[in-house]
């Protein structure tokens, strides 16, 4: 366990070096959030009765989504991990007395945390001081805030455990490029990155809420504003735990299977 924690620390510190990239990201995310909220206002004004959330809940949903995008996105991949599979550098990793799965897992979690850590604070700080109709408001209450942190942590782990499956598929097919490109925008859509899940029509929404993608953003972002509360929240929380356990288990089995008959093609 200790070695994975030091891997985690190593990649955390490494990620924190990229401050210039983070600044570019902040400006982009901020603009994105602003445009999205502006569009939501337009829809709200056109037909307030059909609007499924409160406007404050939408604002905090969008600001957290932009602030934590590097942490929660289902389509941000570690290029070096993908390259190490393609180029055969993975052989070096296999020589070390560490498990591939645990190492990649701690590494991905760390680089996500550092990327989001650099970006989120300026975005959230500015968002708190915006005019009222765009502002990030306070959490619905202390318990909600506690559950927000808990579901947020689970969401990161669910996202990483899903990304792990894509990395591992690379062990079987050499290049997971095609699969990745094919899925990435679809996954974005299913996590609620384009429109929050409450805006989907009823039956589709209920189906999407069961998928692991809903556990990656939808749950924590709605818990914060109290949009998701009570029994529905506990159900969502259990579902997060279920998906995390299931995907880690599948990932580990596939990974062990692949390690046993892995072929390094020179390089």
């Amino acid at each position: 366990m200790k070695k994975y924690i030091s891997y985690f620390r190593m990649w955390l510190v490494m990620g924190l070096q990229y401050r210039a990239a983070a600044f570019g990201g902040i400006v982009t995310q901020f603009f994105w959030g602003f445009m999205e909220i502006a569009a939501m206002h337009a829809f709200h004004e056109s037909n307030p009765a059909a609007y499924p959330m409160t406007m404050e809940a939408t604002c905090s949903y969008i600001w957290f989504q932009q602030a934590f995008i590097a942490m929660l996105s289902a389509r941000l991949f570690d290029g070096q991990i993908l390259d190490s599979v393609r180029s055969g550098d993975i052989a070096y990793e296999l020589c070390r007395p560490v498990g591939i799965y645990d190492m990649w897992f701690s590494r991905s979690t760390a680089s996500r945390l550092s990327a989001a850590g650099l970006r989120c604070i300026p975005i959230l700080l500015v968002a708190v001081f915006l005019p009222k109709s765009y502002r990030l408001s306070a959490p619905a209450g202390l318990p909600q805030f506690f559950f927000f942190l808990l579901t947020l942590a689970l969401a990161v782990l669910v996202a990483v455990s899903f990304i792990m499956l894509i990395y591992i598929s690379g062990l079987y097919t050499v290049s997971s490029d095609g699969l990745r490109r094919l899925c990435s925008s679809l996954m974005d859509f299913l996590t609620g990155a384009y429109i929050p899940l409450p805006f989907f029509p009823g039956t589709i929404r209920r189906m999407l809420e069961l998928l692991p993608f809903a556990s990656m953003q939808n749950v924590p972002l709605r818990v914060y504003s109290g949009d998701l509360a009570g029994a529905a929240m506990y159900r969502a929380l259990l579902l997060q735990i279920f998906w995390l356990a299931a995907m880690v288990m599948i990932g580990k089995i596939l990974c062990r299977n692949a390690e046993r008959k892995l072929m390094i093609q020179g390089g």
Binding site: A21, G24, G25, V27, T28, F31, W32, M35, E36, A38, A39, A42, F43, E45, S46, N47, A50, Y51, P52, S175, D177, G178, L179, R181, L182, C183, S184, S185, L186, D188, F189, Y194, I195, F199, F200, P201, I204
Partner: protein, 271 residues
């Protein structure tokens, strides 16, 4: 190239560009499965956006007085012009990497137009699926929006498409030129490429007056999207609205000047 250089410069350049394209196409065809997957992926990328617009309109039925079909008209025009610009200008998009790796030195040594060579390095033909999708949506929007089409209105749609293509190409050119000064791509400039494509799916006045002002006077996106759209939808009768995309095309001039300035200041990164 050992072709005889007897023909005029223009046709020679065109021939060279076609030659580049045929090389790219042939190399892509070596990986048919990957080509297919990437094409399908790029289709999904815009199809999911279409789906979210569809779901939003199922719920709200209109936004700021625009109906679903009217928004689709706007969305398909922006999507088509952006995708066409992206297919051709892909080389400019990856240009910062070329500068960083010092590969631009090699390009400068060759006695051919710089831009031609850069545009010829890549062609994102996989994105044709988006253009196809935009065509289908456009045809639906044109027939279902209930607009009474006049020849000038049809021409306006063509102007919007051409103007949009020009504008996006200009922005790609600025992005490439900036890498001369910063040795790297600046991520925030994506706001004006992917951002405008993504948020330009709705007529830009729904984002409020401030955004409309910026997109009229700083980056003239509203001149190819919002104002001519008003004319097509019959909300404005003034004919000058139909011709505003030509004014937006002038944007290419400062972009090209910045590019020239960048080339003159180029110092190799040395690697």
């Amino acid at each position: 190239m050992h072709t005889k250089n007897t023909d005029t410069k223009g046709t020679g350049a065109l021939r060279l560009y076609c030659h580049y394209l045929s090389i790219i196409l042939r190399s892509k065809m070596q990986y048919k499965k990957s080509f297919f997957m990437i094409s399908l992926g790029s289709f999904f990328a815009s199809f999911t956006v279409f789906l979210s617009v569809f779901f939003m309109f199922r719920r709200f039925s209109h936004v700021k007085g625009y109906t679903f079909q009217e928004v689709l008209l706007c969305y398909s025009i922006v999507l088509m012009s952006f995708s066409l610009a992206e297919i051709c200008a892909r080389g400019l998009e990856s240009f910062p990497g070329m500068v960083r790796r010092g590969e631009f030195d090699r390009v400068m040594l060759r006695p051919r137009s710089l831009l031609l060579q850069i545009l010829g390095t890549q062609l994102d033909i996989e994105r044709f699926t988006r253009v196809l999708q935009a065509v289908v949506i456009l045809v639906y929007a044109v027939t279902a929006s209930g607009i009474r089409w006049t020849p000038l209105k049809i021409a306006t749609v063509v102007f919007m498409l051409a103007g949009g293509c020009t504008l996006f190409s200009g922005i790609f050119l600025i992005q490439a030129a900036l890498s001369f000064f910063f040795l790297d791509g600046l991520e925030f400039t994506n706001i004006f490429t992917f951002g405008l494509n993504e948020h330009g799916k709705y007529p830009v006045d729904i984002y409020g007056k401030g955004v409309l002002w910026v997109l009229t006077f700083i980056i003239p996106f509203a001149l190819v999207q919002y104002y001519p759209l008003l004319y097509v939808l019959g909300r404005r009768e003034e004919i000058r609205y139909a011709f505003l995309p030509f004014a937006a095309a002038l944007f290419l001039i400062p972009c090209y000047l910045l590019w020239r300035c960048g080339v003159r200041h180029y110092k190799s990164s040395g690697s």
